[in-house]
């Protein structure tokens, strides 16, 4: 029990240490953290600080003002139905984070399990699971979203499912590679000799030891997931037209780009900054984690 506890603490300290080291040494990481925290702040407080909450949720104002350029009243202007774009962006931040969180965590769980089972059990299981991993790596999320859309119509499920279907395989690959080397460790052999059942070894000895690189990869991926989800929503495959999602907001202005370009351009800039911040966060963490990369970076800078 105590051994178990100390191992848990050590693992958590591993990630914590990684964070504090990156924070001390990397300005890029600090910038990423600031952007990510701002995003979180917007997601939590968005519905409360939005100046026009009902318009933010998609209800057009009673007296339609039409599309207005940015003004003190509407810092980012209004869309074609007269809705305040700032409010829509603030409320949309929550949806952006929700999509990222669900997609990354579910794919992470599937990927970790598939990858480590393939590496630890070996044999036919390994072959079959790797074949599946490789096959699903080839599917682009947007095309899967198109197929799901043609079967079920629009909806949040289309976005989440299509991204999960295509994303888990990347984590499975990383988990597999790391678990392969962990399998050869002596403590795994010792655990086997002491007669622990295999699934316990998998959960107690393999999974905790491969989770750090996979989690860091997941943090790096959050930006890409945001971009892909935004693309799916922009194409009109996912969330419905009135929903305050950032991708949908860009879509809303797509028909008016010559006359009211701000409707599309401003929400798109938010997607860019958020995706940039999240991937800066992940990239610098990965460089900090990988000693080989770290050495290389020291050489350059």
């Amino acid at each position: 029990m105590t051994i178990e506890k100390s191992r848990m603490q050590k693992r958590i300290r591993g990630i914590k240490e990684l964070f504090s080291r990156a924070w001390k040494r990397r300005p890029v990481f600090r910038a990423g953290v600031v952007i990510a925290l701002t995003l979180l702040f917007m997601a939590i407080l968005g519905p409360f600080i939005a100046p026009y909450p009902s318009e933010g949720w998609g209800i057009p104002p009673a007296t339609s003002r039409g599309a207005q350029p940015p003004s003190p009243e509407h810092p980012f202007g209004t869309d074609a139905a007269g809705r305040d774009i700032l409010s829509r962006i603030l409320i949309g931040a929550g949806m952006a984070l929700f999509q990222i969180a669900v997609v990354v965590s579910v794919s992470l769980a599937i990927g970790l399990l598939v990858g480590s089972v393939a590496a630890y059990y070996g044999g036919v299981m390994e072959k079959i699971l790797n074949y599946f991993t490789e096959t699903f790596m080839a599917f682009p999320a947007i095309i899967v979203a198109l197929a799901l859309n043609s079967l079920f119509g629009r909806g949040l499920m289309v976005v989440l499912l299509s991204l999960i279907i295509t994303w888990w395989s990347w984590y499975a690959r990383i988990a597999y590679v790391n678990a392969r080397s962990t399998r050869e460790m002596e403590y795994v052999l010792l655990a086997e000799l002491s007669g622990l059942p295999r699934y316990r070894i998998l959960f107690r000895h393999i999974l905790p030891n491969i989770s750090t690189p996979v989690i860091v990869q997941a943090i790096t991926d959050t930006g890409s997931v945001l971009l892909e989800a935004a693309s799916i929503n922009f194409l009109g495959l996912g969330l419905p037209t009135d929903y305050p999602d950032w991708g949908v907001l860009v879509q809303n202005g797509f028909n008016y780009i010559y006359s009211y370009p701000w409707i599309s351009l401003i929400p798109g800039a938010f997607i860019l900054v958020a995706a940039l911040g999240l991937s800066m966060l992940g990239d610098s963490l990965r460089e900090e984690m990988d000693p080989r990369l770290r050495r290389r970076w020291r050489l350059w800078f």
Binding site: P140, S150, L235
Partner: protein, 342 residues
Amino acid sequence: MPVSLNYVVKRTVWALLVIIGVIVFSYIFLYLAPGDPAYIWAGRPRGVNATIAIMNARRELGLDKPLPVQILLFIKNVFTGNMGVSIEYKQPVSVIIWRGLTATLELLIIAYLIGVSLGVLLGIYSALKRNTRLDHGLQVLAITLANAPSFWLAIGLIVALAYLTGFTGYGRVDTRLAIATGFRPITGFYLLDSLIEGNIPVFIDVLLRILPPAIIVATYPLGLGIRMARALIAETLGEEYVKAAIAWGVKRRTVIWRYAFKGTIPSLTQVLGLAFAYSLVDAMIVEIVFGREGLGSLAYHIIGKSDFPLVIGLMITVTAFYIIVNTLADILQAMIDPRVRL
């Protein structure tokens, strides 16, 4: 050549297996969907001819046979280029997709010619000037370009071009000009076709129209190229053989190109090959925004129209493209990298 035939065969067989897996998955997808597969395959028909359409679909898919036989039949059909008839376009799926694929590939190839060459050059420059303000600036630019949503960049470029030059003509070629000069597509790659026919006005028109979307698609390889080339070159510049060459007094230009850059080509090939395969979807989205014909517009026009044969055809095509390009990049990398022996 350090790569054995065995490796090439193994890799090809594996790629084929994965493509078959994709086809099987696509079929199971159709099968698991709520409702009668024949009904979905026929495009959810209504009206007098609905029964006939559904019966045709049933025969086409072989739904009266057991599931494994259906899947085998489906695989055979896909490999013989028979992917059914598009409900929306009323033409064979393979014909439509081929037409779209050439358009998208043309865009993608032009984009990668721009993005890769510029990206690698800037990356090398950045590595040589490492630790300067210029280097940091280039790296920030690179990570921004690689993370920018392409549909948004495309909208921005369209707006900027419209305000600055008033140019709003998009599409692949000016139809009137094409008719006036008697332009006829041969291969489907318009740039190539117009050159073959010696049709210079059409060539210039096609080039002008392809450049704006190509620049947007090029942002990803550009950003990736800057980052990758910088990382790899900076690493090789610290290698012993490069140091030795410098100590020997080899010319700076020769050290950079013949020593440092040459060593990074295999890794660059692999990474950019993977990016090329990945960018197909990116090119499709940019096409939609620019209103060009191609795979993207094909997909965009059938959203919400339940044209299932075309959806499945697109899924198989795009995925197979990814697998094939990826396999080719791997084999190419193994062929040109003297350190890899497989």
